[in-house]
């Protein structure tokens, strides 16, 4: 019994360390905005670009991201300390809203 407890505890800890390591190191590759389409719906993507428009609503922020290949609308549900003309990296899920493709951002980092 004690052996089983030790074994399951050790396996739990190994699993936890692996998950923490992978969670901090694994991210999707950067995709050009023009390549994001209906086939990517429900996929997690990473994009980079300049914020060209920001619209604040009560419960969310809508912003438009632009790179050399195109533009895409993004939505973010948390605090948004970014401004127009700043370059950011956005990680989020591709969704369809009223017939349009957009990214539901979960993580936004400022690019230098």
């Amino acid at each position: 019994m004690k052996y089983l407890i030790k074994l399951s505890l050790i396996c739990s800890l190994i699993g936890l360390f692996l998950i923490i390591f992978l969670a901090n190191h694994l991210e999707p590759p950067i995709s050009p905005l023009s390549e994001i389409d209906e086939r990517d719906i429900e996929e997690i993507v990473k994009v980079q670009g300049e914020i060209v428009r920001v619209i604040e609503h009560e419960t969310l922020i809508l912003f438009t991201l632009e790179d050399e290949t195109g533009k895409i609308d993004c939505v973010f549900y948390n605090d948004f300390p970014f401004y127009e003309n700043e370059n950011v990296e956005v990680i989020g899920e591709v969704v369809e809203y009223k017939g349009k493709i957009e990214i539901e951002a979960t993580k936004i980092n400022l690019l230098e």
Partner: protein, 401 residues
């Protein structure tokens, strides 16, 4: 007349969809709602937004009634029924699986009735109370967590399990390449861990009796009232759901009877879903996946539309009671014919396949780690409730920092 007929038809279709999502482990209403939204441009060509919203409401309510079936009979819960697994499983091993389901149905149905009865009061009071209460949710959850740990026989192990689960929860929710991360998280902690133990122990299910479990009326009333109070916190605050409400509700009494607990979990599951639609209307904040999608379909909706959705809830909930009892009888009559050990094995494989398809291959790591934590919890004699740290800890940290 046409719109009314359309609404009745979508409500019945929602009942069927909710039955499917409720019975099959690993399939959640959120998944169907997301798929529906993804195809919204197609569906809106045939149905109005309110009809689509009514479908989601019907599916969600039906799901809250029937999802205890796989949780109790198969040991395969989702995040909202996770805490019902152990008391439900104990009753299943005594041949009272059908009675356990009936207890959750008592909770779900009376929870629905009282949730709707109190709705007018909430419509007036919530916009006033919400800003005040939301500031203290972290402290409420810390207090509830500490209280539950203090009541454990092995307090140090309870703390370890709470934090192990909590760290797993934080790591999982930050694992951005994993889709639907709660699926492998809860399946591992509460599902495959129990199934693995049943497989190893070669659990044999006794003959299941098709009869109700007697609970005193006063006990049922207390369970429903406790459920209403604890659901109040989670229905209108972000990051907390039915499972946390069950944790908070069960902390009001030192020792809670497992039958009362099942009524409570059943009630909370349904109340939280109903009140999430009210939260969407009053404070424009969706608190369940279904409410998120309804918000996207309807935007800011009118009181008449809310009343319509609540009427659909009552209509479908009433039908779901009878439907769930029929399925519960089928499960109870046939489960003994099945070799439970190998049924556990098949369900584990099914969960692994579903998790891989929905969340991706990397999610198996979360599933396996959760399984080992769940096994450790069981072997140490710590109550499975402590593994709700997987959501409690991330929520507490979110609100504190």
């Amino acid at each position: 007349m046409l719109i009314e007929l359309q609404l009745i038809i979508v409500a019945l279709l929602g009942l069927v969809a909710g039955t499917i999502t409720g019975i099959i482990p690993g399939i959640h209403v959120n998944l169907i709602a997301i798929l529906l939204f993804a195809g919204s441009s197609y569906f809106l060509g045939y149905l109005s937004p309110i009809a689509l919203a009514a479908f989601i409401v019907a599916m969600s309510i039906a799901h809250t009634f029937i999802d205890f079936l796989p949780s109790i009979f198969l040991g395969a819960p989702d995040e909202d029924t996770a805490l019902s697994v152990l008391p439900g499983h104990r009753l299943l091993l005594k041949g009272m699986g059908y009675g356990a389901i009936k207890l959750t149905l008592i909770g779900s149905f009376y929870g629905l009735i009282f949730a709707l009865a109190i709705a007018p009061l909430l419509l007036i009071s919530i916009p006033k109370i919400y800003p005040f209460v939301s500031r203290y949710i972290a402290f409420i959850l810390i207090a509830a967590s500490l209280f539950l740990i203090v009541r454990e026989k092995y307090k140090m192990w309870a703390i370890i399990i709470f934090f192990l689960s909590g760290i797993l929860g934080i790591a999982t929710l930050n694992f951005i390449v994993i889709k639907q991360p709660l699926l492998p998280l809860f399946s591992g902690l509460f599902g495959t861990s129990l199934l693995t133990i049943s497989f190893i122990k070669n659990v044999k299910l006794p003959e299941q009796k098709i009869k109700k479990i007697k609970v005193k009326t006063i006990g049922k009333i207390k369970a429903i009232i406790t459920s209403l109070f604890s659901s109040l916190f989670v229905s209108f605050l972000p990051g907390v759901g039915a499972s946390q409400a069950a944790v908070i509700g069960s902390s009001f009494k030192k020792k809670i009877d497992e039958k009362i607990f099942l009524i409570m979990v059943g009630a909370i599951n349904t109340i939280v879903m109903v009140w999430s639609f009210i939260a969407l209307y009053t404070i424009q904040k969706p608190r369940t996946g279904s409410a998120v999608i309804i918000g996207k379909f309807l935007g800011i909706f009118t009181q008449n539309q809310l009343l319509l959705l609540l009427a659909v809830s009552l209509f479908v909930g009433s039908l779901a009671v009878f439907q769930t009892l029929i399925f519960a009888k089928i499960f109870a009559k046939n489960i003994k014919r099945i070799n439970y050990k190998w049924l556990c094995f098949v369900i584990i494989i099914f969960i692994v396949i579903i998790t891989t398809i929905i969340s991706g291959p990397l999610s198996i790591l979360i599933l396996v780690t959760g399984t080992f934590i769940g096994i450790t919890c069981s072997l140490l004699g710590v109550r499975k409730m402590q593994m709700m740290g997987c959501l409690l800890l991330p929520v507490i940290l979110y609100y504190l920092f």
